[in-house]
């Protein structure tokens, strides 16, 4: 097993510990060992943030869905997140949820940065033109829809349009990365796409607060 193969299944290894072959690679490879240690540390620190915000159950569900879609956690009835906290529905509840989501996007950005810095082999094969995808169709997900509902009618069109463009970028980069898991180039694009989305969320949250 090489580093690229190991890092492809890394999210599952962090959850389950991995099989014998994966554990053997983890013991023999200092780069992957450091990466796993860092990810575990970030996950532990992220848990400490939980009491600081009090988002609605819908937000936790949205985060869980997002992580499952990104392949960072397995679809499961027993998620690693705390049980949803009952809150009174209201403007602040939704806003704090958006803040949590923005923080999560930043966390994903941080994880991708670590992947990008450490994960890829030094000598990258060029992406084959035949595999290059066309720009993905624009779409917004449920988290985006929730964010847009919080914005005024004046602001909404610009943010909606931008979210579609950013999601299209994320989809393109994800598709390329799934075809070429070793591609540092695709990983960099995914990182920049998430950076753009985090910026949009930060700016939108500033608008609604």
């Amino acid at each position: 097993m090489n580093c690229a193969e190991f890092q492809k299944v890394l999210p599952f290894i962090i959850e389950t510990g991995g099989n014998a072959e994966e554990e053997a690679h983890l013991k023999s490879c200092p780069v992957c060992g450091d990466l796993v240690a860092d990810l575990k540390y970030i996950a532990e620190q992220a848990k400490l943030l939980v009491p600081m915000v009090d988002p609605s159950p819908k937000v936790w569900s949205g985060i869980q869905n997002s992580l499952e879609r990104e392949g960072l956690v397995r679809p499961s009835g027993t998620g690693r997140f705390p049980a949803p906290v009952a809150v009174t529905p209201g403007r602040w509840g939704v806003t704090s949820g958006l803040v949590a989501l923005a923080a999560l996007l930043l966390l994903a950005f941080g994880l991708l940065t670590i992947y990008g810095r450490r994960g890829a082999p030094a000598n990258q094969a060029a992406l084959q033109p035949a595999s290059a995808p066309a720009t993905s169709a624009a779409a917004i997900d449920s988290d985006d829809a929730e964010l847009l509902q919080e914005l005024s009618q004046t602001d909404r069109p610009a943010y909606e349009d931008s979210l579609k463009n950013v999601n299209s970028y994320i989809a393109d980069a994800q598709r390329t990365l799934s075809e070429h898991p070793e591609s540092e180039e695709a990983r960099e694009h995914l990182m920049h796409a998430y950076d753009q989305k985090a910026m949009l969320y930060r700016m939108a949250v500033a608008r609604v607060q």
């Binding site: 030094a122 094969a125 060029a126 610009a158 931008s162 463009n165 960099e188």
Partner: protein, 283 residues
């Protein structure tokens, strides 16, 4: 008789309208004195903002509202100054505008949030964070600065900026850089095009990336660069004389990527697009 009464009423109406218009457009000035390390935060819904040096430790904020449906509040707390536009009622686009002309110590830490601009910053040597959804940003003649721009639709134009840390994230707006140099210049766009004209002086790191936006770089033959350009599905073109590098961290593909150096390769220049065109040409 009836005609004269009507004329008198019309006269009053005209006088009232004129005084209201005068009140709406009357500039309002705020003056403060600050020490080193002062911060200024400006939030304006719509209207132009111009920031330039005062040549002293004074901050002078001159605001011109376009109607009486907008008000400006400004205050100083210690070394921090806030200026914010508030809407009164539901003004239309034109009515919601306030124009700001701000004079500041050149080293002030500046934060501007403007939905519709333009925002112009001139001749500062400071940290600045500029956020805007539709606003155009123009930054000129700044040095020794940290410049952060977050733009959604508006264009960003930066010229004659040196020894700066520049980080720009722009989604749809184009980013135009003319003679911009520094230890770190980073631009990340989605659909926006990136144009750079200059010599990448200062041995810095330059990283330009886009999704579908094009990246155009124009540099003189005297530029000393270590340059890589890569596009996933867009094209890459160059007519700048570069020497092949013996070791490249990727397999170059004609038309999609190249890498090379010029002179000693002092500045690191990395150009990345997903589907946009990358062009590197000599001036």
């Amino acid at each position: 008789m009836r005609t004269s009464i009507r004329l008198k009423h019309l006269g009053w109406a005209a006088a009232l309208a004129a005084s209201a218009a005068f009140a709406a457009d009357a500039p309002k000035e705020f003056r403060y004195t600050v020490g080193p390390g002062a911060t200024l935060n400006v939030v304006n819904e719509s209207g132009s903002i111009t920031v330039r040096p005062s040549g002293s430790r004074q901050v002078i904020i001159t605001t011109t509202p376009h109607s009486d449906k907008v008000q400006v509040e400004s205050s100083q707390t210690g070394n921090r100054i806030e200026a914010q536009t508030h809407l009164v009622g539901k003004p239309t686009g034109e009515e919601s505008q306030v124009d700001y002309v701000i004079q500041v110590p050149a080293d002030i830490m500046l934060s501007v949030r403007a939905d519709a601009g333009p925002v112009r910053v001139e001749k500062l040597r400071s940290d600045m964070t500029l956020d805007g959804s539709m606003a155009a940003f123009i930054i000129e003649d700044c040095s020794n600065s940290h410049i952060h721009v977050h733009a959604i639709k508006g264009p960003v134009t930066i010229s004659h900026v040196n020894n700066a840390h520049v980080e720009i994230t722009s989604l749809s707006g184009d980013v135009q850089m003319d003679s911009v140099s520094g230890p770190k210049v980073s631009v990340n766009t989605n659909r926006g095009n990136i144009h750079y004209v200059g010599d990448f002086s200062g041995s810095g790191d330059y990283f330009f990336t886009s999704h579908s936006g094009d990246i155009d770089v124009s540099l003189p033959v005297t530029a000393s660069v270590d340059l890589t350009a890569r596009s996933v599905s867009g094209s890459v073109e160059q007519d700048f004389p570069l020497q092949q590098k013996p070791h490249v961290g990727f397999q170059a593909t004609p038309g999609r990527s190249f890498a090379g150096t010029s002179h000693s390769g002092a500045a690191s220049v990395q150009l990345r697009s997903f589907s946009g065109k990358i062009r590197v040409k000599k001036q």
